[in-house]
């Protein structure tokens, strides 16, 4: 069985959900946060890995989704699952004009434009005190519509992650997803096949922003708190590292990358003050030793054993 077999991935997510019933409370909370980040990384992989559009601004849709969810939970008091879905859809809608401007070209222009929009979001929530709470953020978000308990919230996150993975996997193997691959590989060829590269890139942009918005909304429900830091550019850098670490373009890899980075940070920060340095070194070692990321490594290992 290949490590990227969808059935295996769904099984792993189900197992993670079941862990909530056996792990101590603190560990369950950690796992929940890690899986939300896995969803965030999955959403970015559609852009970076599948469409090869390197975004430096993925904090944008993540934080936008979180703030939209916060508003719904505080003002409308609607159930969290509904708020998560609406937040994703709202992020997808905003992604249409943003994406239209960003996907004119790939490369550095795209990276800078995506960063600029995330920074714009940061500036807006930071300054717009009356609505967003400014630098204080919005606290005390209720988790409505879900039974209490960490293990329940973990199960909910696992359910969303599984659905998101199925959506992403279905997309990249669909006729439209294959056209995205063609645009990535050779824009001139894609045009000669009758596809408008800009529109195709916009589609994958919107899907990626939808999933990032869902992830951000989950995070708002998880932390029960949103603040402008969610928009900060280091968040964009962080999730990009997860994707590269795990293996861009594999969907599963970036999810593993998110888990690996999250837990490595957690363990290292308990050991030493200069955990950032240790993490940087670790990242360098992985990139040099396994340029295709953890996923490439895993594939090679499984392949070698199979032979």
């Amino acid at each position: 069985m290949k490590p990227a077999d969808p059935k295996l991935v769904l099984l792993a997510i189900a197992l993670a959900g079941a862990l909530g019933f056996v792990l101590p409370g603190h560990a369950t909370t950690l796992l929940t946060e890690a899986l939300i980040l896995a969803l965030f990384a999955l959403s970015l992989d559609l852009l970076v890995g599948h469409a090869r559009l390197t975004s430096f601004g993925h904090a944008g849709p993540w934080a936008f989704g979180a703030y939209i969810a916060a508003a719904q939970l505080l003002v409308l008091q609607i159930p969290l699952p509904l708020a998560v879905l609406v937040s994703g859809l709202a992020t997808a809608v905003i992604a249409i004009p943003v994406g239209w401007l960003c996907v004119r070209t790939g490369g550095v222009t795209f990276a800078m434009l995506s960063l600029a929009f995330a920074q714009l979001g940061f500036a807006v929530v930071f300054k717009w005190n009356a609505v967003t709470g400014g630098s204080d953020g919005l606290a005390g978000l209720p988790r409505l519509g879900l039974p209490a308990g960490r293990e329940v919230f973990l199960l909910f996150v696992c359910g969303v992650l599984a659905a998101a993975y199925l959506l992403a996997h279905g997309f990249v193997t669909s006729p439209l997803g294959r056209i995205v691959a063609a645009v990535r590989e050779n824009e001139q060829r894609a045009e000669a096949l009758g596809h408008d590269p800009r529109r195709i890139r916009l589609v994958v942009f919107v899907l990626s922003y939808f999933l990032a918005g869902v992830a951000g909304a989950l995070y708002a429900g998880f932390a029960q708190f949103v603040s402008p830091e969610l928009f900060f550019w280091t968040v964009s850098g962080h999730v990009l590292v997860m994707v590269v670490l795990g293996g861009a373009g594999t969907l599963v890899g970036p999810m593993l990358g998110a888990l690996a980075l999250f837990y490595a940070e957690h363990e290292l920060s308990a050991l030493t003050e200069s955990w950032g340095l240790a993490l940087g070194l670790l990242f360098m070692v992985v990139v040099i030793a396994a340029p295709t990321g953890l996923m490439g490594w895993l594939r090679a290992a499984v392949g070698a054993r199979g032979r």
Binding site: L167, G170, F171, T173, S174, P175, L176, G177, R178, I179, A181, A182, E185, N186, Q188, R189, A190, E191, A192, L193, G194, H195, D196, P197, V203, L207
Partner: protein, 249 residues
């Protein structure tokens, strides 16, 4: 009525006119070669027809429709397929997937974001057929970027054929091939052209290839059309042609 009708096609960069007032008519299923020395404007002319390059002046009609201002993807959607002077394939996708994308384009399967397994499998079968026709079946599962140069050129032709176009534009299909590869390619193309239901515009440097493949010949020189007619006649215009092909440039 002709399939393709170009009037006064012109492309200028400053004072330099790469293509200068070229008229071109092509009937359904007609095969026509365009020759001329380097810089004669052949690729520029094709790029304008296929919508890859804006026209400074002139019009293009395809099947009676004015397509002068359409971009390349809209031309492709109207049945114009092409290969490029510099091979344009998807290097990380398999040879089979490259051709399958051509089949998919033909079927107009575009905005389906989920599923489509059955259609994809049918597409693969059709794609395999094209690869067999071009002698690439054994390399179907290789990433296209790993094929030899000559095989990549053929793969690009296979992709274009899989689109089953009304108009097929081939820009130097044997470019960079060895003599043996060129001979093999010409034989393959002749077989395909004999039964293809498409008009073909062909740029070729290799005159032997042209004489073998195209019943009609157009000669470009410094952006202008200087001859257009049955290949035998244009060829027999030996004094002019030899002087110009051999001497002037």
């Amino acid at each position: 009525m002709s399939l393709l009708s170009c009037r006064g096609l012109t492309r200028a960069w400053g004072a330099f006119r790469a293509v200068d007032g070229v008229d071109l008519e092509l009937a359904e299923r007609e095969i026509c070669a365009v020759i001329g020395p380097n810089g004669a404007g052949k690729s520029t002319l094709f790029a304008m027809i296929a919508g890859n390059l804006r026209k400074t002046a002139g019009t293009v009609h395809l099947g009676g429709e004015d397509v002068s201002a359409l971009p390349a993807h809209a031309m492709a959607a109207r049945g114009v397929a092409r290969s490029f002077q510099i091979t344009a394939i998807c290097p990380e996708l398999t040879a089979l997937e490259n051709v399958r994308l051509g089949v998919q384009a033909r079927e107009g399967l575009r905005w389906q974001p989920l599923g489509g397994r059955a259609a994809m499998r049918r597409g693969e079968e059709a794609a395999m057929g094209w690869l067999e026709r071009l002698g690439l079946a054994g390399k179907a599962r290789l990433p296209a970027g790993e094929l030899a140069h000559g095989d990549q050129r053929l793969l690009e032709v296979a992709v274009a054929l899989a689109q089953r176009p009304r108009l097929l534009i081939l820009d130097e299909p044997t470019q960079g091939m060895s003599q043996g590869e060129t001979r093999r390619t010409v034989a393959l193309l002749r077989g395909i052209m004999a039964e293809a239901e498409t008009a073909i515009l062909l740029v070729e440097h290799d005159l032997e290839v042209v004489f073998e493949l195209a019943p009609r010949l157009i000669v470009l020189h410094r952006g202008r059309k200087i001859a257009d007619g049955p290949t035998a006649e244009v060829r027999a215009d030996a004094a002019v042609q030899e002087a110009y092909l051999g001497g002037l440039d």
